[in-house]
């Protein structure tokens, strides 16, 4: 197929602008303005507005089910109960309202047009700059100016047509991972189709009869290692019961990028940069939910070679499905940590019954850091710092051979000293609405494959997500006031940096 260069270019440009506003502003407002075409098209598919808790609406939702409370940590009375650990406790949203909108923080949705009875998408394979952390722009490969690529979101029973343009300097194909599609559409390079040569385009078209968590990715190994992947979410025709209020997607990836380098070494056996939806902690955008909501988190590991044991604090979640299909309820498993292997997805569901700011992270210690560096040298020496070396590059300061305090303890120092966070860095970290009111020191603890789940009572949720300039620590302190033991609470020391 011939490429229609100029309109597509225009689209990518506006898409990138939207990405910029996403980075600067809030997820929700960005989601609303994500796509001009979609807004203009009556066929705009999946619902994108946030769930509204409407007190006047009649709802089957209760506070307590068989001993399980949606508003405080609880298990219920009977492991065999449908409501044990909130298993089938519904969200506030009803099934009639349709599926909850899928939200992959820090990623956009791919717009489509209805044409000849199919949802027609356009994907452009290209190299991309992605800001893993503020000031750390990495050269990766992705789609439509994004790494991971934009989310394709459809409903079971749709017919899709995806026009793939190759702007890479080498051939590519796109594989629609998990779909039971006609073999010609599978995107297996040379096995089922000729490669899409640089500058050329290719059209995939198929009917979707399945529902669940899918993804698309390049079927060239090194291109996969460079980040060429994106969500492909298929909502069920018949909304799952119990309905969820939130449907999040977190896409985990690894890269090996040397210091003073922006290009990943796809040959590496070692991986030192970790991203969730293309961002590394503390730049990952927290998942903010309301107290008592039913939450689904879909988690995809698209790391080149690393499996991730994913752990959520403060809650026990039900493993309700893997990437193959939704699991029958009888086989759901309650978990705190779930190991997600390469190219696997897992779906977690739980009632957010424990207010607070909760860690949600891979439990591999090296994945809880942005890069591993031996903690030796001036950084750990008393009375020594790197700036003294930088003031005169022709003469270095003498070294004091005396050991630092603590050296007598074998293993000192094991603590990573942490990267230096500049004022600009901190400003970017704090610029997101989702982190308002958190403890001033929170960015020190969130690195690598880490993000946060914030469970907030309605009024605090409203403060965070709909008002501006919430002071640091204010929301957390309020949660301590209401749900904790305020008399023992110690405030975080205010960090010098930030806004």
């Amino acid at each position: 197929m011939e490429r229609e260069t100029s309109p597509r270019r225009q689209f990518i440009k506006s898409g990138m602008l939207a990405a910029a506003s996403l980075a600067a502003g809030t997820t929700l407002s960005a989601q609303e303005s994500v796509d001009p075409e979609e807004a203009a098209t009556p066929q705009a598919g999946p619902i994108t507005s946030p769930p509204v808790s409407d007190g006047t609406k009649k709802s089957p939702v209760r506070d307590e089910y068989d001993g399980f409370s949606r508003f405080k940590p609880s298990r219920g009375n009977d492991p065999d109960s449908d409501y044990y650990l909130g298993k089938l406790v519904p969200g506030f949203r009803t099934t009639e309202e349709g599926p909850a909108p899928f939200i992959a923080p820090d990623l956009e949705k791919l717009p489509y047009v209805m044409k000849d009875g199919a949802k027609q998408f356009e994907l452009v394979a290209q190299n991309v700059r992605r800001e893993f952390l503020p000031g750390y722009e990495m050269d990766v490969w992705g789609y439509n100016g994004s790494m991971p690529g934009p989310t394709i979101e459809v409903t079971q029973g749709d017919r899709v047509r995806i026009i793939v343009h190759n702007e890479l300097p080498e051939p590519t194909t796109v594989h629609w991972h998990g779909f039971e599609l006609p073999v010609q559409q599978d995107g297996s390079m040379t096995l089922t189709q000729n490669p899409i040569m640089p500058g050329k385009s290719y059209v995939y078209e198929f009917d979707i009869h399945e529902e669940g968590t899918f993804f698309y990715h390049s079927h060239v190994a090194m291109q996969e290692a460079f980040g060429m992947v994106g969500w492909f979410i298929v909502h069920p025709k018949k909304v799952f019961d119990p309905p969820v209020d939130r449907d999040f997607g977190l896409l985990f990836q690894n890269f090996h990028i040397k210091a003073n380098q922006t290009i990943s070494n796809s040959w590496s056996m070692d991986w030192n940069w970790h991203t969730i939806n293309g961002r590394s902690g503390p730049f990952t955008t927290p998942l903010v939910v309301k107290h008592g909501e039913r939450v689904r988190i879909r988690l995809l590991d698209f790391s080149p070679m690393q499996h991730h044991p994913i752990h959520l604090h403060g809650h026990t979640f039900w493993l309700t499905g893997r990437e193959g299909a939704r699991t029958p309820k009888s086989a759901w498993i309650p978990r705190n940590t779930e190991l997600v292997g390469v190219a696997q997805a897992a779906e977690f569901e739980f009632i957010a019954n424990n207010p607070g700011d909760w860690m949600f992270h891979c439990h591999m210690v090296h994945h809880m850091m942005n890069h591993m560096v031996e903690q030796v040298g001036p950084r750990i020496r008393e009375g020594s710092n790197v700036d003294a070396y930088m003031t005169n590059l022709d003469q270095r300061p003498p070294v004091d051979m005396k050991h630092s305090e603590g050296f007598a303890t074998p293993g000192y120092p094991q603590g990573m000293q942490g990267m230096q966070m500049s004022e600009k860095f901190m400003k970017a970290i704090w610029s997101r609405r989702e982190v308002q009111g958190m403890r001033a020191t929170w960015p020190k603890s969130v690195h690598g494959l880490m993000t946060l789940l914030r469970v907030l009572p309605d009024d605090l949720y409203q403060q965070v997500m709909e008002t501006d300039d919430v002071p640091k620590g204010a929301i957390f302190e309020e949660i301590v006031q209401r749900f904790g033991t305020p008399e023992t609470y110690q405030k975080a020391p205010l960090m010098k940096m930030g806004h």
Binding site: N260, G377, R379, P397
Partner: protein, 473 residues
Amino acid sequence: MDASILSKLLGSLAISIALLAIPVQGQQLAPTAQQTIEKMLTEPQDIGLDTAAPGTRWNGLTTNQGNATEVHTLNGMLELAARSNPTILQAQYQITGQLAKAQQAGLYPNPMIAYIAENIGVEGTAGEWQGAELEQRFVTAGKLQLSRDKYLQRAKVAEHLAVAQQFRVCNDVRIHYFKTLAAQQILDLQKELLKTAEDDLATTREMFNAGQANQVDLHRANSELRRQQLSVLQAENRIRREFLQLSSLVGMELAFLPLSGDLRTASDLIDYDTVAQRVLSQSPEILAAHSKLREDQITINRESVEWVPDVIVGGGVGRNFEANDTTGALSVRMELPIYDRNQGTYRQAQADYVRQQKEILRTEMDLKMRLAMQYETYLTAAQHVLTYEEMVLPQLKQAYATSLQGYKEDRLAWPHVLHSYRDYTLRRIEYTEQLLARRTSEVLINGFLLHGGLNPAPGATPPGHLDATPNPR
């Protein structure tokens, strides 16, 4: 001993063992004991320079740091050398010696005076003839003037050689000044490497304590530090040697002070053809050789007239006691050049003339050969200096700065930074050596390739000179 006592003893023993065991268990719970071989390896030890090769350091090395305003300068050294280097005076005396020879060779022969008494007692007289006679040799064919000219010409040769000697001394003073200067800079850079080796040991100890290095690494770091300490001592020895050699060239004991100056040079790149032409036309050695050829021509002229006999005229007045009359006497003598027409010495002088023509050629070829060698050194050094200044050093400095930045951002390990700085400093030492090589060859090329400022000042006759003289003494 009965069984009950035994059992009591055993019982009390068991209790005391149990009592002992309590504190033992308590110790086992305490942090790891520290008395290990690793502990000894990671203890800070006295690793200062004084512990390297103790008792063998060159004493009195330290420069007068307290009085930093006092420094040696190159011009000061050159002035001192002009006054004190013995070979410069020797060269002056070579001129004086030749001038004295010229004077001597041109002196007219003294007259002879004789009292003659002949046939004493003849006929009972006092003698047939008694009287005084004066004899004078009349030198012919301008032999004296030619001889004088010949030695005056040798004095001119000696003058050119004195100029050459001045170049030898000045070139050497310059070269050794720069050598000392380079040694100073290299000592500073070796001290930078020493700090880095100390840091490497400190870092290895830190890594050992974090389980990231082992005993092998510690042993290696310890030995590397010692090696670097030796390099510093070597640099100290070098600077001392260079300074003493410089002092010798200047010709007097100098106070050990730092040298001021810059090893870099502002002059443009030397063009080979230009400098070759200049050396071949203006080198004092070439000028001396040409002068010597003129002298050899004069020698031929001189020897070509040697056969012309001098006339010896004698005469006097005396009393002939036999005739009882006053009479006179007259004699005229001259050599008959029948066998010895000085043909051998003439041929010798001719041979020396031709030999000297070849000597000029030999000198030219020798200069060309030395120039070729120096120019190669010069060009190689100049290329290195240029490229090190433009690319190698800035790149390594940037590598070091970038690695420091990476370390500051906690993205790069400290050993990488140490490696970068070591690399940068090693190349700076190479750069200093190349600066010195360029300076040295530049001095030699501009100074007609003359060096050896403490070799005896040469005489006016080159090696192989045949020295034809009419009357060798």
